[in-house]
């Protein structure tokens, strides 16, 4: 299933030296929007809630986009897409960090006793924290040097993403009061992205090019 003809014309654009800076700016826009919203007082009655939620939702979105690169690459026959995966993954980490800091500061005001109690007592926080902790080694090993140094272990380590993103979706499921529709949509997208991999693994075992970091 390839759309080779079209993708050929996209290739130069993705290869351009400007593509990475352009994507970088694009990835900063959600944060820019939020900060602008705070400054302009446009986030409504409870801006802190909007900030915490929005950063969390963007962390999840970036995780899913990162997971979408491999399937997209196979569908479009554009290996060049892999160039962007690291940046997208790091932005997922960045937004998760913003989200976490927003919780620690604006929600708990660094009341560590309460925070530890929360992590221990509330399944949705426990799961969110686990997802975040798992994200740290992935971000830390994202440099070229680490990729080289870890060799085949790099890929093994980065399989943590398959655990961490479901945990992040579960985190969302467990925090909503009654309306499960939004987390369900994210869960569905995640299933498609993981399903694609399972499908390739079991039905297309003569795999062409496993996901390797492209430097």
């Amino acid at each position: 299933m390839r759309i080779t003809k079209q993708s050929f014309s996209l290739q130069p654009m993705f290869r351009s030296r400007l593509s990475k800076p352009a994507l970088f700016m694009l990835c900063l826009m959600p944060l820019g929007n939020l900060v602008w919203g705070v400054i302009q007082d446009q986030l409504g009655a409870n801006p802190i809630e909007v900030f915490t939620r929005s950063s969390g939702e963007w962390a999840l979105r970036f995780l899913l986009v990162t997971l979408a690169i491999t399937p997209l690459r196979h569908l479009t026959g554009l290996p060049v897409l892999l160039r962007f995966r690291r940046m997208l993954g790091l932005f997922a980490f960045f937004y998760a960090l913003v989200h976490l800091v927003s919780y620690l500061w604006l929600d708990q005001f660094f009341d560590w006793g309460e925070i530890l109690l929360d992590i221990y007592k509330r399944p949705f926080i426990t799961v969110g924290m686990t997802a975040f902790l798992l994200l740290i080694p992935l971000a830390a090993t994202s440099t070229n040097r680490m990729v080289k140094r870890l060799g085949p272990n790099w890929r093994r380590l980065h399989r943590l993403i398959y655990v961490l993103v479901p945990l992040a979706v579960l985190h969302f499921f467990w925090l909503v009061k009654a309306d499960l529709r939004t987390p369900l949509i994210y869960g569905l997208i995640l299933s498609v992205l993981l399903g694609f991999r399972l499908y390739r693994r079991f039905f297309r075992s003569t795999d062409v090019g496993r996901s390797r970091p492209v430097v």
């Binding site: 400054i39 801006p47 309460e114």
Partner: protein, 318 residues
């Protein structure tokens, strides 16, 4: 009922500073120190002081039960609402509640009472003098507001129907009409929304039937035309847009109890010592303020209501 102390005829505008966007501006300064945005343009002040857009009500001030805390901005009270009949997002009700038809409106009174019947809103209101009461509202989600409600004591209304000794509880029902309330097309809750009080809770002088806020008729998203306000309980107990009131002998099952019985109990009294299973209830974010504040037992109304629950295990009866 001699609950109504000498009313003083003052408009809230005379006693409270204009609740413009001022507070949230300050909030931004506290939070981020962004001085560049501190200015409030006079134009904004002028439009906001011109009134809120609703029909004005005649009422007297009820100081006895009123909080002296700073009022939450009108804008926040009317744009940040939990009213699942108009969507589960808190900003949806303000945008979508226009479809609600509040006139004509009638309420059916039934069950264990001597004088059941259906009454038009005008006839419900006729015998009651409206009062303003400034109450704290604490949402189960961990935020709170201070709202100047306009209404009358629920007890005065209920007594008109002469509940019998079998009326142990009062059950309230919200309108069910997916055309007017598009959120009801989703199965998020079991419609119609149902709430209940024990009869002594309902007869407590704090229990209010509200028809307005900030001196004007209730905006639709705040539960027009007639809603309950029970300030010592989490906000969801204060049922909105009521069409039926039943005197019953068994404890009603509220919509939230039905949806998540382990998370929402019949009483749902504000209690910082009993957490929601998924989050703490120790503190709350007062809308418009940066730092969180401590949540108080019975939302600070212990003097008025604690006796209702003496001897009860509040962990079990959450």
């Amino acid at each position: 009922m001699i609950l109504i102390k000498k009313p003083v005829d003052t408009r809230p505008s005379e006693i409270t500073p204009l609740p413009v966007y001022k507070k949230r501006r300050e909030f931004i300064k506290t939070g981020l120190g962004l001085l560049a945005t501190a200015g409030i343009s006079p134009a904004v002040l002028a439009t906001a002081s011109a009134g809120y857009g609703g029909r004005k009500l005649d009422y007297s001030r009820m100081t006895e039960y009123s909080s002296k805390e700073e009022l939450t901005d009108y804008k926040d009270i009317t744009e940040y609402n939990n009213f699942y009949e108009f969507g589960t997002d808190k900003y949806s009700p303000a945008k979508r509640a226009k479809t609600l038809q509040t006139s004509p409106w009638s309420v059916k009174f039934s069950g264990h009472c001597e004088k059941p019947g259906s009454l038009q809103l005008e006839d419900i209101l006729k015998p009651h003098a409206l009062q303003e009461r400034i109450y704290r509202l604490r949402c189960v989600e961990g935020w709170s507001m201070v709202i100047p409600w306009i209404g009358f004591p629920l007890a005065d209304l209920l007594k008109r129907f002469q509940p019998t000794s079998q009326a142990k509880y009062v059950e309230f029902v919200t309108l069910k009409d997916a055309k007017q309330m598009p959120g009801q097309k989703s199965g998020v809750l079991d419609w119609p929304y149902v709430e209940g009080l024990r009869i002594d809770e309902a007869m407590n002088p704090l229990s209010l039937m509200a028809v307005g806020l900030y001196g004007e008729v209730l905006p639709n998203q705040n539960g027009a035309p007639l809603r309950l306000v029970v300030p010592w309980k989490y906000g969801f107990k204060s049922i909105k847009s009521i069409v039926e009131i039943r005197f019953v002998d068994k404890q009603p099952v509220s919509s939230w109890m039905r949806t998540a019985p382990s998370e929402y109990g019949f009483y749902s009294n504000v209690n910082p010592l009993v957490d929601h299973p998924r989050w703490s209830q120790k503190r709350e974010r007062r809308i418009g303020e940066f730092f969180k504040i401590k949540t108080r037992m019975y939302n600070g109304y212990a003097d008025e209501v604690a006796h209702l629950y003496s001897g009860m295990d509040l962990r079990k009866n959450f």
